[in-house]
């Protein structure tokens, strides 16, 4: 098994070798020109409805099922909070479980299972419990003022802002290695979810404000799973719209969706309430080809387009901020941070903030400029804004698969660190499973990780090219 190099106490993973880097570039260039201008692209559009399997249909209609999945996640969340707040700050499971296992693994879960995180979300569990005062049965009069989400905020700007703040805290304050700060962020997120549920109707924060939900929402359009109407004709003939309004068997869709017009995964939180409320049994849990929604996105929106570009910038920034180009931790050599420190002389956090703002803005402005260029060359009525909105969806798979490549590296190379911590999660000197003091090999060697990373980037590029070609 390969291992990271250690320099001055810093574990360094060597980057991809030159030949792999150039092979990756060669492949992206090749597929770009082979696929972009290819005509008559045939697509598989078939679906398999998992509710045709009796057991799944039975399970999905039981109200206690979501509770049964959310409860273990809630207990794990409580353990993380306890560890972070009251545990030893050096030996502590909170950062590894949160940032390596959860944040690292979340993107893989989205790729295969779509919005599954929303189904098991412990923050939603707490918010639902304190508002509905029921473990799983329907309460038609939950504690809430039931106000409409403000009209000016009916977009995902709040989620974009929270994502930028999270990234700044995560990387600027190095929260990923701080158990106490990790717990505080968990509590802050809980408050962000719980307060709005007492004020606004349904689960408005999930729809407009949740950064995890909105990021996973865009990514989930690539996932091979969807909740959709079995028959649109049945939906169109339905007068009661129970999926939207709710009834004795199920809550109204928490994000205000109506199955009739549901064509994308973006705002579906897979709560499965529509399976319970639909009186015509017209809801399907489909397995489908990857990237089905995103290849044929019907309702492109400016706010989603902005998030797509920001996602690309910030996921790249996650990777860049770990490299000596950004900050040289070993020798104090020249890096972006050291250069900004010398220039401004206002400390590392200020330099970090300026550098992060630059990395957010430069790709954004560059992309706008390229859209403007495209508009000028085309010389027709299509505006720069229309090009920006329509083509930004082609950046989503590039961001998603880079995110997978980056997070996969964390899980593969750092995931094993959780094993010793499982025996002593709070650093109290326990050895519950006899794993304390043991060293475990990385899940994958660095060569395997490199190959997978290049494959991920090329796959993301291929899907992106196919989307752009259809736009």
């Amino acid at each position: 098994m390969d291992c990271c190099e250690v320099k001055d106490g810093i574990h360094m993973m060597p980057g991809n070798p030159d030949w792999m880097f150039f092979t990756g570039i060669g492949l992206t260039l090749l597929v770009s020109f082979l696929l972009y201008f290819k005509k008559n692209d045939r697509r598989i559009t078939s679906r398999f409805d998992l509710t045709k399997i009796r057991f799944i249909e039975w399970l999905i209609k039981k109200r206690w099922v979501q509770f049964a999945f959310q409860l273990p996640l809630f207990l794990l969340f409580v353990i993380i909070l306890y560890a972070g707040l009251f545990g030893n700050q050096l030996i502590n499971i909170a950062p590894a479980l949160t940032w390596t296992i959860w944040w690292g693994g979340l993107i893989f879960a989205i790729l295969f299972l779509g919005k599954i995180w929303c189904f098991v979300c412990p923050w939603d569990f707490i918010a639902s419990l304190v508002s509905r005062l029921r473990f799983w049965n329907v309460n038609k009069d939950p504690i809430s003022l039931n106000l409409k989400w403000p009209k000016y905020a009916r977009n995902i700007t709040l989620a974009i802002g929270l994502f930028i703040i999270l990234t700044w805290l995560e990387l600027g304050y190095k929260v990923t290695s701080d158990p106490f700060a990790t717990a505080i962020m968990g509590i802050a997120m809980t408050l962000l979810v719980v307060f709005p549920i007492f004020i606004f109707e349904k689960k408005s924060f999930c729809r407009y404000g949740c950064l995890v939900g909105r990021i996973s929402g865009l990514y989930a359009n690539v996932a091979p799973i969807e909740i959709r109407a079995k028959s649109h004709d049945v939906c169109l003939s339905c007068k009661s719209k129970d999926c939207y309004n709710g009834n004795d068997n199920g809550y109204a869709c928490p994000t205000g969706l109506n199955l009739t017009g549901l064509n994308e995964n973006t705002y579906c939180i897979m709560c499965t309430e529509c399976f319970k409320s639909c009186p015509k049994d017209n809801v399907a849990l489909n397995i489908r080809p990857f990237a089905s929604d995103i290849l044929d996105y019907r309702k492109p929106r400016l706010d989603e387009a902005v998030l797509a570009v920001i996602l690309l910038s910030l996921t790249s920034f996650h990777g860049l901020s770990m490299t000596p180009v950004w900050e040289d931790l070993t020798s104090g050599g020249v890096s972006i941070i050291s250069t900004l420190n010398t220039f401004f002389g206002l400390g590392s956090l200020f330099s970090f903030s300026v550098g992060m703002a630059g990395i957010l803005l430069v790709p954004f402005l560059l992309y706008i400029f390229l859209c403007f260029l495209s508009h000028k060359i085309a010389h027709n009525e299509i505006t720069t804004k229309e090009i920006f909105v329509r083509f930004s969806y082609s950046l989503i798979p590039i961001a998603l698969f880079y995110h997978l490549a980056h997070n996969g590296m964390h899980v593969a190379m750092e995931g094993q660190m959780v094993l010793p911590l499982l025996s002593d999660p709070f650093g109290f000197g326990w050895n519950l499973f006899g794993t304390v003091g043991q060293t475990y090999p990385m899940l994958l060697g660095d060569t395997t990780v490199w190959i997978l990373q290049v494959i991920f980037v090329v796959i993301g590029h291929i899907i992106g090219i196919k989307i752009a070609a259809k736009a």
Binding site: C4, I10, H11, M12, M13, P14, G15, N16, D18, M20, F21, I25, T28, S32, Y36, F37, P95, A96, T100, S177, L312, S316, G319, L320, M322, T323, P324, E327, L329, L366, Y367, L370, C371, S374, H375, I377, A378, N380, I382, E386, I387, R390, S394, I398, Y402, A405, H406, H410, M413, E414, M417, W450, Q453, V454, V457, G460, H461, G464, I465, A468
Partner: protein
């Protein structure tokens, strides 16, 4: 969106360039050495 013809082909090149550039940046970042999180724990 751009219609057909040579002009449409050229009009799409900046967007194609953007995608290649972003994928190139992804590959370049992964080409660099990385400080692993384990060193911070």
């Amino acid at each position: 969106m751009f219609g057909k013809g040579a002009k449409s082909f050229v009009a799409q090149l900046p967007l194609l360039f953007a995608m290649v550039l972003f994928s190139f940046i992804s590959l370049w970042i992964m080409h660099l050495d990385m400080n692993m999180r384990s060193s911070l724990m």
